[in-house]
Amino acid sequence: MGKRLGALALGILFMTGLSATEYIQISPARQAELRNLLAQDCGSCHGLRLRGGLGPPLRGAALAGKPASYLAATILFGRPGTAMPPWQPFLTEEEAVWLANLLLEQP
């Protein structure tokens, strides 16, 4: 799973001139759902503006140096031993990579 995610994330990075969030094919309606999920449901621990809460901040410097594949894996599989749950039942790999890139692209 991790390898596939890495390949997916790297493939987007090297093979296209587009940003990853533009490249991954997700319908506008689903994108709106994912943005709402990120702000509201991820936001219930990470803060509505993702500046942190019980969970760590997910903006800017907080994610510096973390590859999209790593973030996507965290989203899908959670972080055992912490409060971060696995979102795999509700997200595809492509959606997780899209969300990871959305996090990396925001200021």
Binding site: Q40, G47, G53, A83
Partner: protein
């Protein structure tokens, strides 16, 4: 010249607000737009919106003892004082970087805020919002600071709170506000996530995320220390993922039974408050977030974490039977009973509505448009310990 201001006041138009009491008023949070709406429960209507309160994700409210002012605690560390009669923001301060909630003291003179960053509790004068005391939640040999959760007021002008990172409970005695006396209880359990105090102000109970069970402190006998209750409620069952932390606000009590959310199990735990033993579990639809008793104690209302957050289940506290399942809409975040329990207010975040239900017939009495509503707070909280 001395009479001049008096004459001037005669010339001014009538006050912009009608003379009225505030006992049937309340606020609900609009978490994404930094606003609150003022509501009244006699006719179930909205009276206006107050804006400019900052990041209100996970915001909460306490009320002054005269039920005129609301203190709103924002996620961004903002503390706002709102005048319910004049429908305006009186004052707003930036007291921390990232905060989670607050409490008002027994004497009504102090408002305390629990902060994630910088970890600790700050205490302000309710009149002026001037800083009165700062209590950093430091722990360990390197003096790290812990996120603070589960802050409540307790009799004796005390505040009690829990340290998420440190696994501690602290009592801060503010009888002399300039010199708070802090009593620490260490090793109370891993990652307390929230806490409550019983309505009589005697027992403080913190829920643990990092392990099964609750930490119980008897404030009549703090010398007896903190003890663990319900240490094995999961009975070795695999914990399910938790997509939203449960809350322990309020204390769902009926007779000697208390009802609290399980962590990582789709169950409400039933506790005997005389023996502090688990006497049962009610299987429920998902991970419970709020377990709230109707004020008469006959029903408990339960809402759930994602992905079951479109539902409310209502149980009879005598038989533990499911009496009603409601589907108010996407993302039910909070429920607030009117003081005598005949109606309950429900926020439906992604439905952008606040709904009012009759708790006997379960029919919907009112629907109010709202922008991403979350917590609902009625002024009757002003006279309850821990709310």
């Amino acid at each position: 010249m001395k009479f001049y201001p008096f004459l001037l006041s005669l010339l001014l138009p009538l006050q912009s607000f009608a003379e009225r009491g505030t006992g049937d008023l309340g606020l609900f949070i609009e978490r994404a737009s930094g606003s609150v709406q003022l509501i009244e429960t006699s006719g179930n209507t909205a009276l206006g919106r107050i804006e400019g309160l900052g990041d209100l994700s996970h915001a909460s409210v306490v009320f002054s003892r005269d039920e005129r002012y609301a203190f709103v605690f924002g996620r961004d560390g903002g503390l706002s004082k709102v005048d319910l009669l004049e429908k305006r923001l009186v004052k707003r301060i930036q007291q921390g970087g990232n905060s989670i909630g607050g409490a008002i003291s027994q004497d009504g003179r102090l408002v305390a805020v629990s902060n994630y960053a910088p970890g600790g509790v700050r205490i302000f004068d309710t009149e002026t919002l001037d800083l009165v005391a700062d209590i950093p939640a430091t722990y360990g040999e390197r003096g790290e600071r812990s996120k603070v959760v589960g802050l409540v007021d307790a009799p004796g002008n005390r505040f009690v709170f829990s340290l998420w990172d440190a696994g501690e409970i602290w009592i801060a005695d503010l009888k002399d506000p300039q010199h708070p006396k802090v009593q620490r209880f260490a090793q109370i359990g891993k990652n307390p996530y929230d806490a409550l105090i019983t309505p009589d102000g005697r027992y403080y109970i913190a829920g643990l995320f990092g392990e099964d069970g609750f930490a119980l402190l008897d404030l009549w006998h703090p010398e007896a220390g903190v003890r663990r209750i319900l240490p094995h409620y999961g009975k070795g069952d695999q914990r399910l993922p938790v997509y939203k932390m449960p809350h322990l606000e309020g204390w769902a009590v009926a007779g000697r039974r208390a009802f609290v959310p399980a962590m990582g199990h789709h169950a409400v735990l039933v506790i005997d408050m005389e023996t502090w033993q688990e006497i049962g579990q009610i299987p429920v639809k998902g991970q419970p977030v709020f377990v709230m008793a109707r004020p008469d104690g006959r029903q408990i209302w339960v809402n759930f974490a994602f992905p079951d957050n479109g539902y409310i289940q209502v149980f009879d506290t005598e038989t533990l039977a499911l009496v009603k399942e409601l589907h108010p809409g996407p993302a039910v975040l909070h429920m607030e009973f009117e003081p005598k329990g005949e109606e309950v207010w429900v926020s439906v975040r992604d439905g952008n509505e606040v709904q009012v239900y009759d708790t006997a017939s379960f029919t919907r009495r009112a629907t109010l448009p709202a922008k991403k509503p979350s917590g609902i707070f009625l002024t009757a909280r002003a006279h309850k310990i821990g709310l």
